[in-house]
Amino acid sequence: MKGLKYHFFVILLFASSTATYAQTAADTSYHAHLKQYNIKEETVVTATRTERKLSNVAIPTKIITQKSIKQAGSMRLSDILQEQSGLFLTSGFGTGVQMQGLNPDYTLIMINGEPLVGRTSGVLDLNRLAVGNIKKIEIVKGPSSSLYGSEAMAGVINIITDQTPNNKLAASLRYGTYNTKDFNCNTTFSKGKFTFSHFLNSYQSDGFSIRPYAVERTVAPIWRLTNQFHTSYQASAKTKIDIDLRYAYEHIQNEIAVTNNGIITYSKGNEYHKDFNLNPVITHLFSNKLKSTLRLYATNYNADQNLNTSGNSIYDDQLNHQFVRVENQTDYYLNDQISFNTGIGYVQEGVKSNRYELNSARRTNNINYVFAQTEIKPIEKLTIIVGFRYDNNQLFAAAFSPKIAAMYKATEHLKFNASIGRGFKAPDFRQLYLNFTNTAAGGYSVFGALEAQKQIDFLQNIGQILSIESDYYKLKELHPEYATGINFGLQYNPNQQIQFDLSFFRNDVENLIDTRLVAYHKSGAQIFSYLNLKNAYTQGIESQMSVKITPQFAVSAGYQYLLTADKDQVKEIEAGRVYTIDASGFARLMRLDEYIGLPNRSKHMANFKLSYENENFFTNLRIIYRSKWAVSDKDGNGLYNSNDGFANAFAQINIAAGKQFSKQFRAQIGCDNIGNYIDMANLPNLAGRTFYTTLSFQFNQKNKK
């Protein structure tokens, strides 16, 4: 190594993800045909599944850059997403993200365009993802099932890892409150036609307890390890092979103490999560106009949770989710006015759980799908995208998802865009196959839609059913949940310093799957199953503004206004069939203006960021605000209204500062939640005030020509 000439590189401050964007020979010649391709400008792939300049994409895409992730001191994906406009992080079954007012179930989370699996009660825990090797995060809001299929109903979050071909070694160590240690190591090496990179992250925390004197931790002690490899081989000027391999491991330790009549019972719990992803991709350029990509993807998520209570049997809960996909995508560039992309794929998916009957058997579903999209520029100022996707599912009804989007560049500084699309979410395995009886809590049962009739009929035959409810007779094949989303907006940038975005969205959701009481056990315990029942809408306004006051000083602010409703509840209120309580606790009619809509949603959300940055120093102040949100049905009428229980509005203030001491050494300090805002019941994942220090080193070797 001594003979090599090192070139020190200031990655963390200056590696604007675009400037270092790696373009393969295949990509370059392909894009040579996209006239005036400006490499300095940010590009996005998620909106159209092809690389586009951000300013040219008809479907608005939000980018979170590597720089802003680093400068916010983020460690996990949840850390950085909570600071974005219009994203509301939920707690319960991990940290999920609510987009355009829709639950975490309806946002597709991808790494390099491939979906992550392993959801608990519909939530994919965003803490599973380390952000130390992310080049950028692309966020597309509004239904995107026309390209991505199930789950892309509220939108898509695509994490793009840094695969810049160079020779470097970068490491950082962060230490903070609650004995939180976060270590990152990025190694990249390229020689000839090969590039190789490795990312290692280890995150360890003692967790914290915001409940005084409690044995159990609000956030339990945890150790997370992520290993990610990427190899690429430029086989020829026209063919490139990429292989991504990721392995993530999590171990959470829980100690629970239950006091009953002064007797304390201690339990020890362990949770293990293992996440494995393998993604080989071959890209071939048949001509300068025709590009084809073959992607293979295999992922396996394993969760094991056990609880050992002294004197009791061990409670063990297991889930294994496997997902294998083969997909081919072909992009054809006809001319400056018309381009096409089309794809075909096959998915085999399976889940094994001891909450299903016959826990040794894997429940499987196969999906065949096809998608096609065309982008047309009839005139210079107008771009139109028309696309659809058809998913043929083995287990439940097929889904057809069309989308139309348009962008009109009125002037160089003002753009309008509009889109209408359909998104869906397939019923998940839990909703189909669950066979779970909670013996610890009264013996109630939940049966998946494909199990319920069979199980209840069986129980009835052996005289174990007390009564059958009317919803039992409504049980049938589950259909996907659908949303029709309309988005329109404008983007205005009068000059280089000011950028203003305004958008309006509305999602009409049909067929929402809900749990319903279908029968009673002989013991009187309830039996639930899943039915397509509810119809809801979410609508709102989102705006974002950023101003560069001086070359060093910048201010940005974002705001979302959100309204939601369950359409059937609105009908009930309008019909005068919904009551609430007066001050004495007795009933009175509820008015429509008292209706809140869906719970756990803030009507107003805002964020504000002030930042200063020069050649070797930066500092920032970030404020996140959420208005109150409904959490409990205090008046007992079964819907959420102004007489119910709310979590208080809150503001969280974070600050960070960093300094580049030499070309290879950098330090950062920060404080999150300066105001020490704590809401134990409603924000269990929000620790009080925390401090941290990060030290980063980077060694770079210039590529030999």
Binding site: N260, Y579, G585, F586, R588, S632, D635, G636, M680
Partner: protein, 209 residues
């Protein structure tokens, strides 16, 4: 808890038209009558005294019997008589007929507002108790209350009026407003000790039709 006590004593002091009845062996409940509407507060219904071997909270297992006509509790020894109209134990409510007693009682649940009910046709609507199925259904969202499992709280459903036929076949309308001591439901964040010790206190109003 402090809030609950303040609220109820304030109520008692400011309204001179109301009378207070104390019973020594069943805690103290309060009965007020105003414009033919009788309001009962803190009527205990087998409050929790301990935990079973399985760890479930339990009471003595006895119902609290109440005469709507006499506006007072009826001693336990009169449980097999027609002296009572309704009886409470936990979330279960009995009426004096069928498997529950020798009277001519019964009940049905009306969805609407207390003030709007003027009369009803008892013969076609009233059901009688046939244990374990009661005229007033038990279970969350089945009868008069919902049970919030995660928070362990019982809340009366607003707009549920219990139409009751007394042991002597006199008709009443009855609305329950709270299930906790002092008529104040604990906060969702309250400890389970508070939630257990303050529950099974009936607060309701009724009127003869």
């Amino acid at each position: 808890m402090a809030m609950a006590i303040v609220a109820s004593s304030f109520y008692a002091c400011t309204d001179n038209t109301k009378s207070i009845i104390d019973t020594s062996n069943n805690g103290s409940y309060k009965v007020y009558t105003l414009n033919d509407v009788t309001e009962v507060q803190n009527l205990i219904a087998d409050t929790i005294i301990g935990t079973s071997a399985q760890g479930q909270p339990v009471g003595t297992g006895h119902f609290t019997f109440f005469s709507l006509k006499n506006r007072a509790m009826v001693p336990l020894t009169d449980s097999a008589t027609s002296n009572w109209d309704v009886a409470f134990r936990g979330t279960t409510i009995l009426t004096n007929a069928g498997t529950s007693g020798p009277g001519m009682g019964g009940a049905y649940m009306h969805v609407g507002l207390f003030a709007d009910v003027i009369s009803f046709n008892a013969d076609s609507t009233i059901r009688t108790d046939a244990a374990p199925v009661y005229a007033i259904k038990t279970g969350s969202n089945k009868g008069w209350y919902i049970y919030d499992g995660p928070n362990n709280l019982v809340t009366p459903i607003p707009g549920r009026v219990l139409m009751i036929r007394g042991a002597d076949s006199k008709l009443y309308k009855l609305e329950i407003n709270n299930y906790y001591k002092g008529g104040v439901t604990p906060l969702t964040t309250a400890t389970s000790a508070i939630k257990l010790s303050t529950q099974r206190y009936y607060n309701f109003r009724y009127k003869a039709l």
